[in-house]
């Protein structure tokens, strides 16, 4: 990784080589997770603050676990239990956290660009754990790693990303990542949930669900984000289920027999994915979760900096 890199804000500003390095390092980190004592002293003395202004299960806990596995000290702060409720601004909150000698700040925020805003104003490293509808780089990296482990390559794979593309930071980061690694992406969903301008993402658009299932290596399903559906993009959830829910029957009928199913979670059983599919042998959903810890360990390791001299044995 570029030794001058301070922050991880998005897939957009990572080079192909940097992505490769994060994935390779994560493979070695996975080995720690399989040991009897799942801990290495690598980040001893490094302090990490997890600022989560939006709810999260997987991302927060896998960051917390990654920090513990590498012996970093960590504190968690969520919007509901902090001075944010008393009207403190984001920058003030972050500056106060940084004043406690924190080295890395992991932030999730509903406003796109919030991590970038902090990164420009703080000395601490900032890791984007999801900012509004913009990017979710650690999710994309763990997805790339899950894919690489399954197929031993990423280049030339056919990937379909299905669902609410418009509001999905996961989709945005993943498309950028897959493009950089040379995979071929098709997005699919109701026209109201596909962004009007897809050109920067260099991916095909397909509105027909049955058509998009054909000939793909990976079907990546997205959750219908009810919290981002204030304007009505869909006539009803039932309507969406009818056209876009991946049922076992459709999977068997249209998809290739060696296809794999991925989903960033949380899954809405019976909405975008049928229970039988989520629990089938095609599903890599739980593999994605395991990989998540290793990827986050890799990122924290590669970003951590502290001045020590002299080690040349």
């Amino acid at each position: 990784m570029n030794p001058n890199r301070k922050d991880l804000l998005g897939i957009q500003d990572l080079s192909k080589e940097e992505i490769g390095e994060i994935l390779t390092t994560a493979e070695s980190m996975e080995e720690i997770l399989k040991r009897p004592i799942k801990k290495a002293p690598t980040l001893r003395g490094i302090t990490i603050a997890n600022l989560f202004f939006e709810p999260s299960t997987r991302t927060l806990n896998s960051f917390a676990l990654a920090e513990k596995r590498l012996s970093a000290d960590s504190i968690n702060l969520s919007a509901s239990s902090s001075s944010v409720l008393k009207g403190e601004t984001l920058l003030d909150t972050a500056k106060n956290i940084e004043a406690m000698e924190v080295d890395i700040i992991v932030i999730r925020h509903s406003t796109p660009g919030a991590p970038h805003f902090l990164a420009n104003r703080l000395d601490a490293s900032v890791v984007n754990a999801g900012d509004g509808c913009h990017e979710h780089p650690t999710q994309a990296l763990l997805d790339l790693m899950t894919i690489k482990k399954k197929f031993s390559k990423i280049k030339d794979l056919e990937v379909a990303i299905i669902g609410d593309i418009k509001h999905s930071r996961v989709a945005r980061s993943l498309i950028l990542g897959l493009n950089k690694m040379g995979a071929k992406v098709t997005v699919c969903g109701p026209p109201t949930l596909i962004p009007q301008w897809m050109d920067p993402f260099e991916s095909k658009v397909e509105y027909n669900f049955e058509e998009v299932l054909k000939g793909k290596n990976i079907l990546y399903l997205l959750r219908i984000q009810k919290e981002r559906q204030k304007e009505s993009f869909l006539p009803s959830i039932r309507e969406y289920i009818k056209s876009y829910c991946l049922t076992y029957e459709k999977l068997k009928k249209f998809a290739s027999p060696d296809v794999v199913i991925m989903h960033p979670g949380p899954i809405n059983r019976g909405v975008e994915i049928e229970s039988r599919v989520a629990d089938s042998e095609y599903s890599l959903i739980l593999n994605q979760v395991i990989t998540g810890v290793a990827i986050r360990m890799s990122i924290l390791y590669l970003l951590s900096k502290r001045k020590i001299d002299g080690f040349n044995d």
Binding site: M1, E21, S28, P36, I37, P41, I308, F311
Partner: protein, 187 residues
Amino acid sequence: MNVKFIEKRVLMDEEEMGWALRRLACEVIEDNPHLETIYIIGIRQRGDILAERIRKILKELTHWDIKLGVLDITLYRDDLTAYGPKPIIGSTYFPSPIDGEDVLLVDDVIYTGRTVRAALDEIIDYGRPSRIRLAVMVKRSGRELPIASDYTGVSVDLSKHEEVRVCLKETDGEDSVKIVEVSSESE
């Protein structure tokens, strides 16, 4: 600042290295009537190659198939979070649990002792061996920690400006031990 390496002399050639390893292996046999309980662990990079060679010699001499593990100590280094490019992490591999085993740790050079310190920490995170001993190809002066080798290929006193290079066929194309002088000129 420019760092230059000037080759000063060859400490050992291929043949001498071969003999040193053989002698080292014989010492291990002498000390261990129950050789079958030995568990060799090589420290990456180069220690793992030397470990494999020692194992081969031991097998030749005794016909015992000795277990061999590989240790990558990168995550246990005490300078890891220093500024600059991060070292690439290799993988650690043990063929079986190391609890209760009689471990022979192998590295190419012992200098400050910090690599061995890191290796001991990592091994202990994997289990509790009954004993750990250390074999090195080159023992040079300059220890910063109270750590010593039990089996040594060659000992040499060097100044701070000198460095030992252990070259191996597998990684460097030839077998030799060289002394190089490190000179840094500021421009």
